[in-house]
Amino acid sequence: MIQRREFNKLAALAAASAAAQARAQQSSPAPKPATNDGITWDKAPCRFCGTGCHVRVGVKNDRVVAIEGDQLAEVNKGLLCVKGYHVGLALYGKDRLTQPLLRRNGVLEPISWEEAIETISQKIMAAPEQFAIYGSGQWTIPEGYAANKFIKGGLGSNHIDPNARLCMASAVTGFLSVYGVDEPAGCYDDLDKCDVLIMWGNNMAEMHPVLFSRVMDRRTRGEKVTIIDLGTRRTRTTEFSDHYLEFRPHSDLAIMNGIAHLLIKQNAFDPKFVERFCNFRKAPKDPLATPSAPLHGDAMSFEDYKAALEPYTPELVEKLSGVPAEQIRMLAGLFANKDIRITSTWCMGFNQHSRGTNANRLCHGIHLLSGHFGRPGDAPTSLTGQPSACGTAREVGTMCHFLPGGRLILNPEHRKETETIWNVPEGRINPKIGHHTVLMWEKFCTPADKGGDIRTLWVQVTNPGQSLPNLHKLFKAKAGQPDKFLIVSDVYRTATTELADLVLPSAMWVEKNGMFGNSERRTQQWFRMVKPPGDARDDAWQMIAVARRLHDLGHAGMKDKDGRFLFTLKNDKGEEVPVWEWPRYYDMNVDKALFEEYRAFSRYKHKDLAPYDEYVKARGLRWPVVQQQDGTWRETKFRFSEFDDPYVKKGAEIQFYHSVTKDDKALIWFAPAEKAAEEPDADFPFWLCTGRVLEHWHTGSMTRRIPQLHAAMPHSYVEMHPEDARERGLANGETIVVKTRRGELRLPVWIDGRGHPPRGSLFIPFFDERLMCNDLTLGEVDPISKEPDYKKCAATVARASSAP
């Protein structure tokens, strides 16, 4: 086999052109020596998904010219996927935004940064309470922290939410309501140790390819690992699986109840584990009784739990899900076997689900009930789609109901602690939670006189004009409302900038310092390696510059208790640097200053972060990172397990130290199988599912500009079963019309293509901005997590020629 290093270097060199620019002002403390070929190498996590692979970035003449997998990174061990190999080219699309643009008479015209900052500041000053920030799980940790502090600690408003609401909010409510604290207990090491890997509606081979390669690699070394794919269509992952269980959309709840039913019926659960470490819960009678009622639920005895599961016999589950009773018994048999180790993974299949919180709970539940928890390889683990959904959205708490470090807006103690760390006057933080994503966009798209109380909305690092569900209602309705002002910070023009009133050009990835937090609690750091193009600037700078302008305009919230500006930042020598002036921004490491301030928040939920400089040395560290007696910092792989987690009491074996019930026990929930919000009927006889493809990352704003990836997957399509196509006389490649109650879309049908939906089922990827499937989606939200369901709605198809 060719040396991977050589392979990648050659390749990337060939791919990148040699446009020379002035050398960037390096901010790394120790400039890296250039190799013989004049290339300087440094480390960075990949810009794309939540796996968190590390790459080595080769820079020459202020341009990224080479990418290779980082051998030192535990996550990917030198390996990359097809997107990762080309990540450097995401910077070099021909149409990078390089100057601020203001819409005048319908046209985006160049303006200066001073005008842009002034415009935003005036809009905010006019009505601070009607201003909102829509951020991202692609924000770096310091960027998210700056935005969070600016709006919650400065403007006294909680109208901030990230796109992560569309992505992992149900995983958060799942973890919180089971363990009392967010994020997985296990980590990727479980994939190396498990005997059985169950993927619940999770196409890992395409969405987290490097993780799936890690599992495949075990097979090639002769290890036995049983791979089970539970899904609603055959995917690339299915090809490599030992078992494929195809279920009717939304019936995953029934399947998990069926497993729990059998474990109890056959007395095959783990009574010792359950008695020592678990309590039982069901949905509260009155979910509105207290704000935390939906997360805490009502107590339930084991007998009640047993009775509630009674109806879920394998035969009933077969009827509900279409999965043969035999296979339900097979799954239960695996969970009943304590000698094997089972890892469950899931991603959008559970999360983008109108009962997403319950799906997450039930999966944790069968692991807890059977005692398949707390040993390496025995873990229920959610995977994230964005590089810092965990690090920024969840841990920094850039959501409308969170404060940093797992704190809650609604908890007066938490507000007080936050105000203390931020050194702002008591009462500065608004006690009312803000608008979550769907509500925020609904309010933005609704005229002010009809209750639309968001007037100015600032979007950073995300593309809601393509990724929101039901776009006609939640995004496109903004058009023609002159009093609504949309600000978009991005690197390319997108579907979102189409309706933007002000567009700000941003620096991306290695054009700025950054930190991400991946799916397995791993916090990662990188330095700026090249200069951004034209007048593009860091997102965090944009936020701080606006804060400073508001300060100068006399907004009281921009000062702390002692009258100092909210973002008074000091360099390593303790000198204040006016970082709101762009030429001074890289005179110090702003990331380090913001991160060190943020670190103080991380202890409360035992998500301890190490000092910034530890992350400079490492390829990421998994929290809690705890300092040891010899002064070194140690990461934690397996949370709540005595053998690895320093916060577990000696002799406890397993301790859920943030337990909802305050008795160190986790909660096993009962949740009923329910119908989807919209199911196929006579008028709309198909299920419509949407999702991603291997080559493109989310809305494709970066990957579609990478020639290799675009050539490999240039166009969106709809997958359909050959029989369904034959009945309707549709030929492969023919343009057809897919229609739902929200809208319609014309696109080619792909029969027996990459994915294979069962009869009565369609799949459309969402990467293609010319063919936006979110014109069709329903987006019914989970009542607890407020995350929309993108995976299920009812649709119909017709030949394009015969469509009205």
């Binding site: 086999m1 060719i2 991977r4 392979f7 990648n8 050659l10 390749a11 990337a12 060939a14 791919a15 390996l79 990359l80 996927c81 097809v82 190999y85 080309h86 699309g93 021909k94 149409d95 081979a205 395409e206 390819p209 490097v210 799936f212 390669s213 690339r236 090809e239 490599f240 390319y492 023009r493 997108t494 291997l694 080559e695 579609r704 500009r705 020639p707 290799q708 990836l709 675009h710 050539a711 490999a712 997957m713 240039p714 166009h715 399509y717 196509a725 034959r726 549709l730 030929a731 492969n732 490649g733 023919e734 343009t735 080619p748 792909w750 029969i751 293509g753 990459r754 901005e769 010319r770």
Partner: protein, 114 residues
């Protein structure tokens, strides 16, 4: 719905020019060989193929000739006797170093008349 028509029809749809926001220069350069005098055949160089260590099947999916490409344990393979040498697999290969070589078809590769 004939197989040949369907596959070609589908890929024709894929080959529509890249529109609007992305400058034409950023669109993939899909070079079609001029009607070549020499017949060609594709060969996948496994060591450059993404499927060797990760997952990819762009070439197999987009091959317009039924049976000319297949996957063996995840790796794409060209069936030389069926391959028409159209070069689409080469054009769509996303590997950092293109894994598909287009070679002149040598007489030994074609069935010998008996």
């Amino acid at each position: 719905m004939s197989a040949a028509l369907s596959r070609r029809g589908f890929f024709a749809a894929f080959r529509q020019p890249f529109e609007r926001r992305v400058a034409p220069a950023a669109a993939p350069v899909v070079k079609r060989e001029e009607a070549a005098d020499v017949a060609k055949v594709a060969i996948v160089q496994g060591r450059f193929c993404i499927a060797l260590t990760s997952f990819c099947s762009a070439c197999v999916e987009r091959c317009p000739v039924s049976g000319a490409m297949k996957k063996e344990r995840g790796m794409p393979m060209v069936v030389a006797d069926i391959c028409t040498g159209c070069g689409i697999c080469h054009d769509v290969c996303p590997a950092p170093r293109n894994a598909v070589l287009m070679l002149p078809r040598r007489p030994s590769l074609t069935p010998q008349p008996t």
